[in-house]
Amino acid sequence: MKDLSHRLSPEVLVLLVIAVAGGLGVLFIDALVAPPKLLFGRALTAITPSLFPVIILSAMTALAMLALILLRGTAGADRDAALTHGEWRRGFIFFAIMTFYALTMEPFGFLISSIIAMVLLSLQMGNRSVWQIALLSCVSPVLLYLAATRLLAVSLPELNVIELAYARLLGE
């Protein structure tokens, strides 16, 4: 078991996933690529839509397999670069906050979702100053929203009630 975990370094795992994905891509290419458009029974292009992808996927699979073979002797040798338990935990929490932010930006609106994300990230980074967190997470999303929507004229998702409040605040 220990030997297996030693051999299955992140490098080997990534190569394995790529090799398998490439192989499956070639195998099921007809299901993944729509058939070419025909005009009076003749194809409109010199190459079929699946030709170039098949070449690339085959090459990718072959190269990943070759890399796996060549890495056999060295896989797992660089154990110093491995992450600690704490680093993995911090990374997991960070991505969980980002996923939450991505999923809530539209239903909660930019301001509320940004405030929640900023508070969580500030706490994760070890900031314990309530005033600093409050100031940072409340002021910066408002300024960013106004800069984006009023100066650059681009849209960010926002709840109607908050958008109305901005309009009143700016006398629009």
Partner: protein
């Protein structure tokens, strides 16, 4: 051409261009000066701002971030021996020793002056050379274009990291991702799994921010970095005599950086290392290098900044981004409706010249802003990371959203960010993947046209009708191998 140059010169003299370039320079220096934050991250996050500005304002804004960021990276390298960018690693060797000797102000001044000298000289070279090269490229047909694109991808793989095989795998992955959406030749759906959001393909912006900016932020979060102590900015300013003594070294490094900038994939890190090594070899007192030698700082900084201009040559003439920063610039060009390639010079010649001339003006602003603001940026190395990380993330998400106003882009941003950090842990370079993704559609288009021209007999076609393309295809593996060996030697 002369007429286009003067039209471009007039177009570059816009107040808003100068204002945005100054903001870009300031922003670039600010981010470069923060340990753990990079120019690449700043460009990826601020890229969407350029989409909503005029091309002659938005692209110089990004160039300002680029130039400012490369110099900004030398500030923590000199003051706390923590290079803000990879390009500043060579600078830190002598820069930090100078700080320890109480000469940090001299080192920073030398970094600024040699950066501006290297950058300006290479930008002028770029302006002089870009039109003849573009004219040559205009003679290319699909087979030549395909051969050159293939060669560029191989060069990028050969010069990316220690394992070219892994880089090639990543490149193939990027090419595969570029197939998602609608086929550029036949207009049929590929790899969409029936999802409506994938019909128009994977958007470039979430990918760029995801794989370049998010992993760097994640690395800071995972390492739980705080702030660092700064020893005060000390010593006298650089004297004219000291600059004059280093001038031959600066000129040599500028030539090295310019030559390296033209070749896709090599970039600032290699230029800085080569410039530093060349200065040490040519010196009559090589033993002082690494012990606080001003020439060491000058050599590395002039070389890494001289790369900036010439990287625009393959980008603008062939649409080939030489490194990850120019990949972001390509995104800005495409979003502005300017497709880099030989036809860009025919259709938008004055705009191209305006952007190139703006690069030279940017250096003059760089000198003034840099000189005045060194003390301010020097204090930034002590700023609290816990304040910066939430701001960077909100900027990244807002930037990824505004281009298409689609929540799917935010999920893609998180997905690519996750992929980027996993690739970092597994020691895969994501740059070849992005290059493959960007060049994929063009490569497939050129491939399809070449097959049509060859009438099913590609070998005879290349051998009898397309000698140039055939030569490039033959030279590609040899050139790639030689570059890989050279890279291994330079990076040790």
């Amino acid at each position: 051409m002369i007429e286009q140059f003067f039209t471009g010169f007039g177009m570059a003299l816009r107040l808003d261009t100068f204002v945005m370039m100054s903001l870009g320079l300031f922003g670039g220096m600010l981010v470069g000066a923060l340990p753990g934050f990079t120019t690449l991250m700043a460009m990826a996050i601020l890229l969407p701002i350029s989409f909503f500005l005029d091309p002659i304002v938005g692209i110089p804004f990004l160039l300002g971030i680029y130039k400012g960021g490369i110099f900004g990276g030398s500030i923590p390298a000199i003051l706390i021996s923590m290079p803000g960018t990879g390009a500043a690693v060579a600078t830190s060797r002598d820069g930090y020793k100078l700080t320890q000797q109480g000469k940090s102000r001299k080192a920073l001044d030398m970094a600024l002056f040699s950066s501006v000298f290297g950058d300006t000289s290479s930008d002028i070279f770029t302006i002089l050379m870009i039109f003849p090269i573009a004219f040559l490229v205009m003679q290319f047909g699909p087979p030549e274009l395909f051969a050159v694109l293939l060669m560029s991808l191989v060069i990028i793989a050969a010069t990316s990291g220690n394992n070219p095989l892994k880089a090639l795998v990543m490149m193939m992955l990027g090419l595969w991702l570029s197939f998602v959406g609608t086929d550029p030749l036949g207009g049929v759906e590929r790899f969409t799994f029936g999802l409506f959001d994938l019909k128009s393909g994977i958007p470039l912006l979430p990918m760029l921010i995801g794989v370049f900016a998010i992993p760097e932020v994640a690395a800071v979060v995972m390492r739980n970095e705080k702030t660092r102590q700064l020893s005060a900015l000390m010593g006298e300013r650089l004297s004219a005599a000291e600059f004059k003594r280093c001038l031959p070294t600066i000129c040599r490094s500028t030539v090295i950086g310019t030559a390296i900038g033209i070749i896709p994939g090599l970039g600032q890190v290699v230029a800085a290392m080569m410039g530093y090594s060349a200065a040490k070899n040519a010196s009559s007192h090589p033993e002082t290098f690494g012990e606080g030698e001003l020439e060491g700082v000058a050599a590395a900084e002039a070389a890494n900044n001289a790369v900036n201009g010439p990287t625009m040559v393959p980008l603008l003439t062939l649409g080939i981004p030489g490194d990850n920063v120019t990949a972001i610039l390509l995104g800005a060009f495409v979003a502005q409706g300017l497709r880099p390639g030989p036809q860009l010079f025919e259709e938008q010649g004055p705009i191209v010249f305006a952007i190139l001339i703006a690069m030279v003006f940017c250096n003059l602003l760089f000198l003034v802003i840099g000189y005045l603001s060194i003390p301010f940026f020097s204090r930034l190395v002590t700023i609290k990371i816990s304040v910066l990380i939430p701001l960077v993330i909100v900027f990244a998400f807002a930037g990824a959203y505004v281009f298409r106003s689609d929540t799917v882009d935010l999920l893609m941003l998180v997905g690519f960010g996750l992929f980027g950090i996993l690739a970092k842990i597994a020691r895969f370079d994501v740059m070849p993947m992005v290059m493959g993704f960007i060049l994929g559609p063009e490569m497939e288009y050129a491939f399809g046209q070449t097959v049509a021209m060859a009438n099913g007999d590609a070998f005879t076609f290349f051998l009898t009708e397309r000698h140039g393309a055939f030569g490039v295809l033959l030279a590609t593996p040899i050139f790639g191998f030689l570059l890989w060996k050279r890279m291994q030697k330079v990076t040790g």
